[in-house]
Amino acid sequence: MKGFAGFVSGKISAAVLTIFVIICANFVIFRVVPGDPVRLLFGDPRAGRHRIAEMRERFGLTGTLWEQFVAYLNRLFLHGDLGFSFVYRVPVLEVILDRVPQTLLLIVTALAIAVVLGTTLGAIAGWKTGTKFDSIIVTVSLGFYSIPTFILGIILMMIFAFGLGLFPIGGMDTIGAGYTGWAYVGDVAWHMFLPCGAIVIWYIGEYVILTRSAMQDVLDQDYITSARAKGIKESTILRRHALRNAILPVVTLTGMNLAFAVAGIIEAETVFRWPGVGRLVYDSVMSRDYPVLQGLFLIFAVVVVLANLVVDLIYGYIDPRIKVGGGQ
C-alpha cells in the first residue's frame, strides 16, 4: 500500500502544480497583450481619465506587475475573488455560480444516457464484429462523432423544433407559465430534450467506438474461451465476463474527455440558449466581458484537472498492476 500512497501523492502534487500554472497563466495571458489592459478590457476609448483610474483600482491594475500578481493571488486564494464582471456589475464568481446548476443538470443527464446507450451498443457491436449490424453502428457513430455539436444542435432544432414543433427552440422553461412542482420539472425536461440530445448523440459515438474495441480485446482472452467451453449462455458471458472487463477503459474515458465535454456544453448551450456556463461563454464573448471569460477559463481548467485526478486515482485503485508496480 506504500506504493499506492506514493502514487496518490505524486498525482495530487502534479495536479496542484498544474492548477497553479493555470492560475499564473491566467494572470499573464491578459497582460502580455500590447497596449493598456484597461483599454483592452473596457474597450471604450471615450472613457474619461478619472473613470479609467477608478477602473484600474477596482480591477486590480494598479502598481507594478509583481504587485498586481501578488494582489491577484491574494484575492483569489483568501477571498475566492475572481474579479468583477464588466457587464453584470457583480463579482465574477457570483455570475458563474449562478449558472453552474443548470449546466450540471444538462451534462450529468446527457452523460448518463450516453454511457448507458453507448456502452450497450458498443458492446453488441464488438460482440458481433464484422457483421452488418457492427459496420452500420460503427459508420454512424464515426459520422455523428465527427460532426460538431453546434451543428448537431442546429439540425435537431430544424427537425424537431421548427419542422415537427415537438420541442421548444431554446431556454430552460416556458417564460411566464408559472409552473410549480412536477409540472415545472416536466417543463424543464421538455426544454432540455434537444440540447441534451445534441450532446448525447455526439458522446454516444465516442463510447460506442471505445467500448467496441475494448470488447474486441476482451473477447480474445482465455477466460472467455473457457467460459464458452463450460457451456455458459452467450448472453451471460457477454454481461458477466466480457462487459465487466471491457468497462475499465470506458471509466477512464469519462474523466479524460471532460475537456471535450466542455466544448460540447459551450456549443449546445449556445445553440439552445440554455442558461448555463456554456451560454455564459458566448454571452461574455459577445459583450466582451473579459473578467467573466477569464474566470470561466480558470474554472473550466481547474474542473478538468480535478476530474482527471479523480479518474487517475480511481484507476490506480482498481488496476492492481499500478499498486504492485508502485510498491517495488
Binding site: I147, V271, F300
Partner: protein
C-alpha cells in the same frame, strides 16, 4: 531532381493505395469538389458575397437570381458559401501545416535527446493536453482579436502538443533501431541523425496527423466563427451561421443556415474518412492482404 521524382512517385503510390479503401475514395471525391469550389470561387460566384443588397432584396428565399437566397442585409448566400470554402480550406491546411511542423519538431527533439530536455518539453505538452481546448482557443482569440491569421495562430498554439506526443513516442522506438545505431557509429551528427535518419521514418505518421489536424482546424474555425470570434470582414461558414443565429429569425429562413452547415459537415466528414483510410492503410498487413 531524382529526389523530387522519387517523392512524387511516393505520393502517387500513396494516393493509389488510398483509393483502394472505400472511405479513402469517398473522402477524396468530396475534398476534390471543395478544392475546385475554393479555387474557382471568383468565377462561380454571382455577386460580391459582402455587397449589401438593394432594399427589398433582404431575406429572399432561393430564386433564379439568388440561388441560395439572401441574408438579412440582402447579401447573396450562394456566393458567401463559395467563399466560405476558401477560408475553411486555407485555415485547415495552414493550421495543419504549422501544427504538424511545431509538433514534429518538438517530438523529434524530445524523443531523440531524452533526459531533462525531454522531461521539460513533455511537461509543457501534458500541461496543454490537460486544458480544455475550446475555452483556451476562445480566450486566445478574444485577446488577439479577430482575424484569419489569429485564428490559425490560436489553432496552432492549442493543437501542436497532440502531434508532439504522437511523434515523440514513435521517435523513442526508432532511435533504438539498428540503422540509427549504424549511422551513429560512423560518426553522424545529431542533426543528421534526427532529420536524415529518424524523420523520414515518421513522415507517414506526420501525414496521418496532418489529415487529423485539417479536420480539427476546420472544426475550430467553424466553431470560433459561430461563437462570434471569427474575422468579421471575411466570409466563412461559421460566420454565416453566426449571422443567421444573431438575426433571431432563422425559424422562417432556414435556407440561410442549411448551405453553411451542410458544407461544414461535408468537409469534416471527408477528412474524417480520409483519416480513417490513412490509418487503415498504414496498419501492417494492409497491402499484403490486398496483394499490393
Amino acid at each position: 531532381m531524382s529526389g523530387l521524382l522519387k517523392g512524387l512517385q511516393g505520393v502517387g503510390k500513396f494516393l493509389k493505395l488510398l483509393l483502394t479503401s472505400r472511405m479513402g475514395r469517398v473522402g477524396i471525391v468530396i475534398f476534390a469538389i471543395f478544392a475546385f469550389i475554393a479555387i474557382f470561387a471568383p468565377y462561380l460566384r454571382t455577386v460580391d458575397p459582402m455587397r449589401f443588397g438593394v432594399p427589398g432584396n433582404q431575406l429572399m428565399p432561393p430564386n433564379a437570381e439568388f440561388w441560395f437566397g439572401t441574408d438579412r442585409l440582402g447579401r447573396d448566400i450562394w456566393s458567401q458559401t463559395l467563399y466560405g470554402t476558401r477560408v475553411a480550406l486555407i485555415v485547415g491546411f495552414t493550421a495543419a501545416a504549422t501544427t504538424v511542423s511545431i509538433g514534429t519538431l518538438v517530438g523529434l527533439i524530445a524523443g531523440y535527446f531524452g533526459g531533462k530536455l525531454e522531461e521539460l518539453l513533455m511537461r509543457i505538452v501534458d500541461f496543454f493536453l490537460m486544458l480544455p481546448y475550446l475555452p483556451l482557443m476562445i480566450v486566445f482569440s478574444a485577446i488577439l482579436g479577430p482575424s484569419i491569421r489569429n485564428i490559425i495562430l490560436v489553432i496552432s498554439i492549442v493543437y501542436w502538443p497532440y502531434t508532439a506526443r504522437v511523434i515523440r513516442s514513435q521517435v523513442l522506438s526508432l532511435k533504438e533501431r539498428a540503422f540509427v545505431e549504424a549511422s551513429r557509429s560512423v560518426g553522424a551528427s545529431d542533426r543528421l541523425l534526427i532529420f536524415g535518419e529518424i524523420m523520414p521514418n515518421v513522415v507517414p505518421l506526420m501525414f496521418a496527423q496532418a489529415v487529423l489536424m485539417v479536420t480539427w482546424a476546420i472544426y475550430a474555425e467553424a466553431v470560433l466563427s459561430f461563437l462570434g470570434l471569427g474575422d468579421p470582414t471575411t466570409v466563412s461558414w461559421g460566420w454565416i451561421v453566426n449571422r443567421a443565429f444573431a438575426s433571431g429569425v432563422i425559424r422562417d429562413f432556414l435556407w440561410w443556415v442549411i448551405p453553411p452547415i451542410t458544407c461544414i459537415c461535408a468537409t469534416i466528414l471527408a477528412f474524417t474518412f480520409l483519416g480513417t483510410a490513412v490509418s487503415d492503410i498504414m496498419k501492417p498487413g494492409y497491402r499484403e492482404a490486398r496483394g499490393l
